[in-house]
């Protein structure tokens, strides 16, 4: 392939176009992207896609093996596993997107930009706070935050129901979503902020930033026009990998029983309920279908991140 002279084309545009082409050519990247779009699409349109409602019990058809009527079988209450998994994916979709947007994209990028751009004490302060968060063992902080938030959010939802007269807010599980999302968002900004900060440090050294400053550009303009666009390649990669780990954390939380509460299905709870050796012996599909779904989601995000990294950061190879 011919390499085009870089002076001719504006750099930012050619980078993205080139990266897009590269991604389209990458079998690994495209496979993962298609899988993610399919799963997330199914999750988002769960009420349309799922053949049954997640709570529809059918006592004549309990614990059925996969068949044409129930492609992934039924559980001990006769509920269709395929539908439950699709609704479980919906839970994961909502939580991962919300936590990534709030924690990774908004908090993470903003704090990383501020930290890297202004350096000095602002940087120290933000990074030290990040270290405190990182020092917490594993998902313990998420668990503690979720537990503390929960009664408050539930109270709030009840008050809201009482004052507005709209029923079913608590029942619908919205409060649970808020709790899990909040806990994950509070924790997930650190990784993104650290990477963004590092990037800003190196971008700041470029001549064009100095030139912009010499021309009297404001801090905001320099950040928005000169630094932010150059961050995006790294951010895109981080988002893909971060989605995988947030999905894992969400499933872990619901596995522990702290996440979204039944009857709203979540993949973690399905794995927990059916994880015993007796069920593995008699009806293994009850646990393996949710397990494989989670594995595919996490694996696809990681591999997509890898492919995006190859496409967007050609220098890193």
């Amino acid at each position: 392939m011919l390499t085009e002279p870089t002076e001719v084309m504006p750099r930012s545009r050619s980078l993205w176009l080139e990266a897009g082409r590269q991604l389209l050519r990458s079998k690994k990247g495209m496979t993962c992207l298609v899988i993610i779009l399919l799963l997330y699409g199914a999750g988002m349109f769960a009420p349309i896609v799922a053949p049954y409602h997640y709570d529809e019990q059918n006592w004549d058809q309990t614990l059925q093996s996969p068949s044409l009527d129930h492609p992934l079988g039924t559980d001990r209450l006769g509920r269709d596993m395929l539908s439950r998994i699709i609704y479980g994916i919906r839970t994961t979709v909502i939580i991962t997107i919300a936590a990534m947007v709030a924690g990774g994209l908004l908090l993470g990028i903003a704090l990383g930009l501020i930290s890297g751009y202004f350096s000095r004490w602002v940087d120290s302060a933000i990074m030290r706070v990040g270290e405190v968060f990182l020092a917490f063992p594993d998902i313990l902080l998420v668990i503690l935050i979720a537990a503390t938030l929960k009664p408050r959010v539930l109270d709030f939802a009840r008050n809201l129901e009482a004052s507005t007269g709209i029923g079913g807010i608590v029942q619908s599980g919205v409060a649970d979503y808020l709790v899990v999302f909040g806990a994950l968002a509070i924790v997930s900004w650190v990784g993104m902020a650290r990477v963004v900060r590092g990037q800003v440090f190196s971008i700041k050294q470029n001549q064009y930033v100095l030139a912009a400053r010499a021309l009297g550009a404001s801090h905001f303009r320099i950040i928005a026009r000169h630094i932010f666009p150059n961050l995006l390649p790294q951010v895109v990669v981080m988002v893909s990998i971060g989605m995988g780990s947030i999905a894992g954390a969400e499933v872990a939380l619901s596995w522990l029983g702290i996440g979204v509460q039944p009857p709203v299905p979540s993949l973690g709870l399905m794995i927990f309920e059916n994880g015993s050796i007796a069920i593995l012996r008699s009806t293994p599909y009850l646990v393996f279908f949710p397990v494989i779904t989670v594995a595919i989601i996490i694996f696809a995000f990681n591999l997509l991140g890898d492919a995006l990294n190859d496409a967007l950061n050609p220098k890193a190879r």
Binding site: R128, E131, V132, A135, F136, P137, D138, I139, L140, L141, I143, L144, I145, A147, T148, K150, P151, G244, G248, V251, A252, W255, L256, G268, I271, F272, G275, I277, L280, R281, P284, V287, F288, V291, V294, A295, I298, F299, N302, L303, D306
Partner: protein, 309 residues
């Protein structure tokens, strides 16, 4: 260098104080009243008030935390709410011993499988073995416990029938195999990748060419020149993993019924046993932060080119 270490050493206690404070605050504002949990159904208001006063629970939260830290520094981590009369320190001691055996087993699996896999990938650089090791380890690295566990259960318990599905009997009991594999596999991935990259890098060095040029047998080139140098960054991973000897594993220990730190954390969480949760968080965070510090310092000595600001 000295300045860097001093600054880190000064920051570490502050960091731990903050970690402890956040945990304490979350516990304080979290659901459940410790005194009510303690007294169970016997709730005479006078007694509740007295215990509250005795334990300093009627003071402002920051004062309570101050008292807690003062006692903790003197080695008194308080008493567990759930296990009546058990000092938290003693409770933690037993649990850490269990978790460290499990952690050691996982560490052994990580290094004994990871380094040979990395070497294989480096030797067959660019061929299918390389790709298999690298993408295979990526797959395993990213999979959480609750996904690997069912597969292991099917293999070891249902197919081979050589292991019970859970339980704990110490380091030399076969029941350690599954949890150790689950905890060790992500380590295998990290170690294999790191060894591979490090070996590939060293192979390109002039001194390796010199060693080959002077006619040294290939195995000696690898043993004396390549591996010895390539293992330096891998050794730092060992330092980092030392922290895992204390921290335990929340989900794995819960799943396999192992009485370690991780399971204690989850149990205490559900029992609202805040003295135990706070102490656990502090100890795990301390182990992690100190291991990090140790690695940074050792790395600096091993490779003087590394610079810290």
């Amino acid at each position: 260098m000295a300045k860097y270490i001093v600054r880190r050493l000064l920051w570490t206690p502050v960091l731990l104080l903050l970690v402890g404070f956040i945990t304490y605050i979350l516990g304080y504002y979290g659901p459940g009243d410790p005194v009510e949990v303690l007294l169970d159904q016997y709730q005479d208001p006078v007694v509740v008030e007295r215990i509250r006063e005795q334990r300093g629970l009627d003071r402002p939260v920051i004062v309570q935390y101050g008292i807690y830290i003062k006692n903790a520094v003197q080695g008194d981590l308080g008493e567990s709410f759930k296990y009546r009369g058990q000092p938290v320190g003693a409770l933690l001691g037993q649990r850490i011993w269990v978790s460290s055996q499990l952690g050691l087993a996982a560490l052994l699996i990580g290094f004994l499988l990871g380094i040979p896999l990395g070497l294989l990938a480096a030797l067959k650089q660019g061929r299918w073995q390389d790709t298999a090791v690298i993408s295979g380890t990526l797959l395993f690295y990213s999979l959480p416990v609750f996904i690997t566990a069912p597969f292991l259960l099917v293999v070891f318990v249902l197919w081979l029938g050589i292991l019970p599905s859970q339980g704990w009997g110490g380091f030399f009991d076969p029941r350690i195999v599954m949890p150790a594999l689950i905890l060790g596999i992500p380590g295998v991935a990290v170690i294999a990748r790191m060894s591979r990259n490090s070996i590939v890098e060293v192979l390109a060095q002039d001194y390796v060419r010199t060693a080959r040029a002077k006619g040294l047998p290939e195995y000696l080139v690898y043993w004396r020149h390549v591996l010895r140098n390539a293992m330096i960054p891998v050794a730092t991973l060992l330092g980092l993993s030392l922290a895992t000897l204390v921290t335990g594993a929340f989900i794995t220990e819960t799943m396999f019924g192992i009485p370690g730190v991780g399971r204690l954390a989850i149990e205490s969480f559900f029992a609202r046993d805040y003295p135990v949760i706070t102490a656990l968080t502090l100890i795990i965070a301390a182990a992690y932060v100190l291991a990090n510090l140790l690695v940074d310092v050792v790395y600096k000595f091993l490779d003087p080119r590394v610079k810290y600001d």
